[in-house]
Symmetry: C2
Subunit: 410 residues, 2 copies
């Protein structure tokens, strides 16, 4: 069977070489990566990648948001099976976040060529532009503009810190890669994204592969607690309006609400705090803090939205910052990914993604799912990001199996 | 009786004029004051004040820390009764903090002259240098150097933000006021400081005068809670080491400890917070916060010091930042101040100062006590600082009575 052959054709050393080669572009002196979207480093990495793809006999395309499509033709003129991720990084990021999915996809193309496998459907490796959102806001720009092209006009206006717009950066990309054919979005048979977990679940379970059933929905709020700044020495407790005490009490009430709704699935974070005037001997007059609540069930998120205002005191104001609905991946595709994991002979478990990925947007375009491999210590967005080579290989093997199995579907 | 005569000789309009005149030096365009210690504005204010004092027939002295002594001679060569405060302000301060005590003292000298009162002891109005500590650290520099002259050598090394040392600023003062006689510290019969409360107690009680029995002692600590920064979406709650949750739990335990020790006298403030990395979607890896605990009883402060470490988790580190013992004012002097308040015919109540004052150091030199008048809304260190003119008058009347009563003591 082609899928099993593809799995066995994966070459761990070649995969390691591809990751190492990509990591040259934007490497930081002390370790780690800084390859911002549409930067010179990104352009050089793309040029290197396109050269590799051309040598493999692939067709190359780009689109209005500088996404790259590397197409290995199939026997029939059917919608392709897509895989891929992103190659932009955080300002002090690692070598695997996004890059692993793209390099593992490239290794799959190598393996298929080497094994002389022909698939019914084309297989396309995709590089989505600006997933991190660290140079240009928002993240997942390329994948969201692919699925909803009407977003692009607004995106083009967004500026980086030096005042360069997305539009200017995209125009520079088009000029630099003028030889690439432009292509609008096309129907796809499936999209499979392979990624490091960026969390501790697989590592702590001692399991090398995760089949991702979906992405949690999220609610971001900012709460502002209004008190009165006053002298820490002269103001008796009953006369205080201490915004920090109000904030701590509010956080407790929010935690009780979220715990009641989410139970063991709770993911609640108060990550960003702003205390004013922030002096040792002054009672805080105003404290703002962020609430990040995630859940896979839209009903739980809706209940949180509905009940949050009532659990806050009058002198606490609430500002919604961001929200995103949960994504449930395609059940038929999850079955194929489970078969692929079984085919590796390694343990795997189902889990949910707490982080956003390009797959979140692709799920609105075609049947979509993800595969995870462990992240050591759950660490990501950090030069210390690391995954065991054996786990990187396992992920690539499962991906190769899944791509070929899907590409041979009628 | 001289003391009662002095009380009635206080002229509220003249007092208002003195405060308004002083407020010209370093007035901010939008209201409020910026008169930093030993600045040009301070020098001009001092020159104006010395001119007033000279016109009243007083003797003028200064010392090695640029404190000013305005002496109204007595009939006998006895230790003087001293009063005064400071005229430096916060960078965006009000017109009353410190200034009120000095101008009320000057009004007392006016009143005594006008009423032709001779006292047995000299009365000295003092301006203490750099009480606020906002240009040069530490605060209460002049009064502490007066009481403990060995402090001065170190103080002279301290720099302001533009790199000017206390030594340079003191030398500039000596050159500017070269005509003043230099005098070392002398024994005093008593020191009485009149000040605005800078807290809400008198206002909320509807009482215009407070007899201050002492100054609370203080403990400042910095706590640092060590966790691990991690992704808010990918990290399940049981696998988190959230430094912010640790900080909130620590604050609760500290509050329980302090409440148990201090009961209704509790003054506990968590005013300064530092959260790292302080991002919405990242669990805090490290959180520091300050603890400000004040109490009048040295035993309570000592118990807090002793029990604090045991109530913190292992991953919380504790750094003492500052401590000061409580000050108990002289009982015999408090009796005279109560009589003075009674002599005004107005309500008064005993209270404790939660803020530091020059009187805290003078208490180590001679019998010392303080009088408070209300602060509207408890607000100080702010252009909105305000006290009813009737309350300013009441304080000056009580001060006049007390100074004369004390100066007539054998």
């Amino acid at each position: 069977m082609n899928a099993t052959t593809a799995l066995h054709a994966i070459n761990a050393e070649r995969l390691h070489g591809l990751l190492t080669s990509l990591a040259r572009f934007g490497a930081l002196p002390g370790g780690g990566m800084d390859r911002q979207a549409l930067s010179e480093e990104d352009f050089q990495a793309r040029a290197w990648l396109l050269e590799q793809a051309q040598a493999l006999g692939c067709e190359l395309y780009t689109d209005a948001c500088a996404n790259l499509f590397i197409r290995r033709p199939g026997r029939e003129a059917l919608a392709p099976v897509m895989t891929g991720s992103h190659i932009d990084t955080q300002p002090s990021g690692g070598t695997l976040d996004g890059c692993y999915g793209v390099m593992a996809g490239l290794e799959c193309l190598h393996a298929l060529n080497e094994a002389g496998i022909e698939t019914r459907r084309p297989i396309e490796l995709v590089v989505w532009t600006n997933e991190e959102g660290s140079r240009f806001s928002p993240g997942a720009m390329g994948s969201s503009a692919y699925v909803q092209p009407e977003r692009l006009a607004t995106y083009r206006e967004h500026l980086d810190r030096s005042g360069i717009s997305v539009g200017q950066a995209l125009d520079a990309h088009a000029a630099r890669f003028a030889a690439l054919a432009q292509r609008a979005a096309i129907p796809a048979h499936a999209f499979v994204e392979l990624h490091i977990e960026q969390g501790p679940v697989l590592e702590q379970a001692g399991v090398p592969l995760g089949v991702v059933s979906g992405i949690q929905g999220v609610r971001w709020y900012q709460l502002t607690c209004h008190g009165a700044a006053a002298h820490a020495g002269t103001t008796p407790m009953p006369m205080r309006r201490d915004a920090m005490r109000l904030a701590m009490a509010s956080a407790q009430r929010i935690e009780a609400l979220a715990e009641g709704l989410a139970g063991a699935e709770l993911r609640l974070t108060f990550g960003r705090w702003n205390v004013h005037p922030n002096a040792i001997n002054t009672i805080a007059g105003q404290v703002s803090f962020s609430v990040d609540f995630r859940h896979a069930d839209p009903a739980v998120l809706a209940a949180f939205d509905a009940q949050l205002p009532a659990c806050l005191a009058d002198n606490v104001s609430l500002e919604p910052l961001f929200s995103h609905a949960p994504t449930a991946f395609a059940p038929a595709l999850l079955e194929v990914l489970e078969q692929a994991c079984q085919a590796t002979g390694l343990a795997h478990l189902p889990l949910r993604s707490g982080a956003f990925h390009d797959a979140m947007y692709l799920a609105g375009h075609c049947p979509t799912a993800m595969l995870f491999v462990p992240s050591r210590g759950g660490i990501s967005h950090n030069p210390a990001e690391f995954t065991e080579p054996a786990h990187l290989e396992a992920g690539a093997r499962a991906l190769a199996y899944a791509l070929v199995a899907l590409a041979d579907q009628p």
